[in-house]
């Protein structure tokens, strides 16, 4: 009895959902920005699934004229980007370089705030902060100011008054997208039929990287999107999306994936169908983030382009601190990092070693 009812209901549900799905897909063909616009500053890199790691403080013994910095970062497990970021900071802020650093990692805002308060009480000279969440920092930053601790933001911005921090060192995702799309335009293809694989909708990286492409496709008549789907940074889903396009025998010649993992998944689908990809081949493959293995794919000419999302902020932070110590003021508080785009035809082994994360 129940089962039959279940069966009937289930079937109805599936068909209904399918019909609904098709309806919606037909009338919002090109507009994809809708869900992205109202989202506030979202996690920069891959989805943050990792749990919090315990706040780890290192030796607090004040010694000589070392500059005391407290570094609050997200969990290094979060993504390859974060791992590279954490290692870069650790390598820079050493006693050999004149710093005495303490570190705290968490993906939770409140734990980060607690660590920040502790660091301020410990009397650090500089508080370096990559906030888990954009809001809730005003109180802590005011405390920091009262205690004479200078705050430098890196990687992520926060919703606080500019007077509360000295500098903010960030990636410009829009620029990343523009660099990539300009590169693609320079390839001078007769026709661009693009499979656009997006990251988690609403994340800063997705918005910036999608926007440039969407704008270009809207502006150029020879550019068209064959499929535009979010694979949520997931290689598996990207593979399915591309597979589905191949199975329906649609023609395409560009894969624009918003991170390396998804590009890799897409390439797996191409390989299965014996569609050639890379330099001088049928399909152009584009990725982001500059993972070492992805740059190696470029070096082997299996992919065409990889855009950088620069995790190496330590150098910039160091410069800011040096300036402040020398009594200079930072005029432009938002410092946008240089970010490269690598072309498979020009990339070298040095680039792989230097920029691979």
């Amino acid at each position: 009895m129940k089962k039959k009812f279940l069966g009937v209901a289930l079937s109805v549900a599936m068909v209904a959902s399918l019909l609904a799905g098709c309806g919606s897909s037909s009338d919002d063909s090109a507009a994809t920005e809708a869900p992205a616009t109202d989202a506030t500053e979202a996690p920069a890199a891959d989805g943050a699934d990792a749990t919090d790691a315990p706040a780890a403080d290192e030796g607090n013994a004040a010694s000589g004229d070392l500059i005391k910095v407290g570094i609050i970062n997200n969990d290094p497990n979060e993504s390859g980007y974060r791992t590279a970021n954490v290692e870069d900071l650790k390598a820079k802020f050493t006693e050999a370089n004149g710093y005495q650093a303490s570190f705290a990692y968490s993906l939770k805002n409140e734990e980060q705030i607690a660590s920040a308060q502790k660091m301020i009480q410990d009397g650090v000279d500089y508080l370096l902060l990559s906030a888990a969440d954009t809001s809730g920092w005003d109180g802590v930053l005011k405390d920091a100011k009262d205690n004479g601790t200078k705050v430098i933001l890196f990687d992520r911005t926060i919703d606080a008054d500019e007077s509360l921090y000295e500098a903010s060192i960030v990636s410009d995702m829009n620029k990343e997208g523009e660099t990539a799309v300009n590169w693609l335009a320079d390839q001078k293809l007769d026709e661009y039929k693009i499979i656009h694989i997006q990251g988690v909708m609403g994340s800063a990286a997705q918005k910036g990287r999608s926007k440039a492409l969407d704008d270009k496709v809207a502006a150029e008549s020879t550019w068209s999107i064959v499929a535009q789907q979010t694979a949520e940074w997931n290689a598996d889903k990207a593979q399915q999306i591309v597979q589905s396009v191949i199975d329906s025998k649609e023609k395409f010649n560009v894969i624009y994936a918003e991170n390396d993992d998804m590009a890799k998944g897409a390439v797996a689908a191409l390989d299965k169908a014996n569609i050639s990809h890379g330099v001088g081949k049928d399909v152009i493959v584009m990725g982001y983030d500059c993972n070492k293995w992805a740059l190696e794919e470029l070096l082997n000419q299996n992919w065409n382009y990889d855009g950088q999302c620069n995790p190496f902020q330590a150098q910039y932070i160091d410069e800011v601190i040096k300036k402040l110590e020398a009594g200079e003021t930072i005029e432009e508080k938002t410092i946008v990092m240089d970010e490269k785009g690598f072309d498979a035809t020009t990339i070298t082994q040095d680039d792989v070693d230097t920029y691979g994360i």
Partner: protein
Amino acid sequence: MGKTKTEKSGFSFSAILRNQLFIPIAALLLLALFNLIMDPSFYAIRLGENADGFKVLSGNLISILDMGSELAILAIGMTLVTAATGGQDISVGATIAIAGSVILRVVCGGEQSVTEYKAPIIVALIIAIVVSMIFGAFNGMLVAIFNIQPMVATLILFTAGRSIAAWINNNTLPVVNVKSFGVFGNYIPGFPIPTPFIIAMICVLLIFLVLRFTTIGLYTQAVGINENSSRLNGINPIFIKFLTFVILGICVAVAALIKVSRISTINYSVVAKDIEMDAILAVALGGNALSGGKFNMTASIIGAYVIQFLTTTLYKFKVQSDALPAYKAVVVILLVVLSAPVVREKLTQLGAKMKANKKEVS
């Protein structure tokens, strides 16, 4: 309503309706019909060459069999866990990350990128199976011995699992640049059927042999239906519950091998993300009560492929894929509401009333 009508039309038809397999197969047929009407080319299957020059089958149907395999394998274990404990394991996605991480750790020997195996794959797989069984045993212990709600117990690994996975490889993302590593997620050279489907069918065969020749199926149902009476009949419910989680652990390790083999690397935060929901849905779609008791393994496995059929169909018609979970959620909600005791009671009453009316009329 519909069902009482069909009951009238004949005994054999009502027997079909009563069969548990009716639900997933009806869903499958509906999807198949939908695709047939919308675009018959959906069913085109081609024999073409892949990049390595071997003949392989391709087409939407092949993609479904291929991509649905991990889910089918997980559905096996999830069905047993559901039947025995009346709850579900929500940590399978996270434990796939762990098992996948273990496989890569062993194969790569801790290096970030390798061009030859540091250890044979079979060793990696065995270690991964053992590790997943241990994590399964951990879940099983919490559920069986400490009597914690399965969803709550497995919430622990659900949250911690992906961090553990990252920790196993020191936060690096190892890449295996060996062609033969891709065999498990792609094709065996010279064989045109996707390997994941073959692996899934081997798992299915194994579980049917186990169910056929051991008493585990019967005992699992007995524990799920009434723990106390099964204990009085000499079955150890603690052991049975424990065992189902360990079996699920094995399924997880096999699914993890396919996952990491597909792309020869791993991303801890997204690999097999939300797969637990699909696995639970496969069990529900198979008409199995999520509150435990009797189960039908075939129905669950078909259920798994139905979900992949739905996913592939949605991709095919370019439905925004971030909306995909919403479609699945609708199905889950309906299933759960319909199997709620209150609704069941009402439906039974309604059915009885209809029958009484019918008798009066005739």
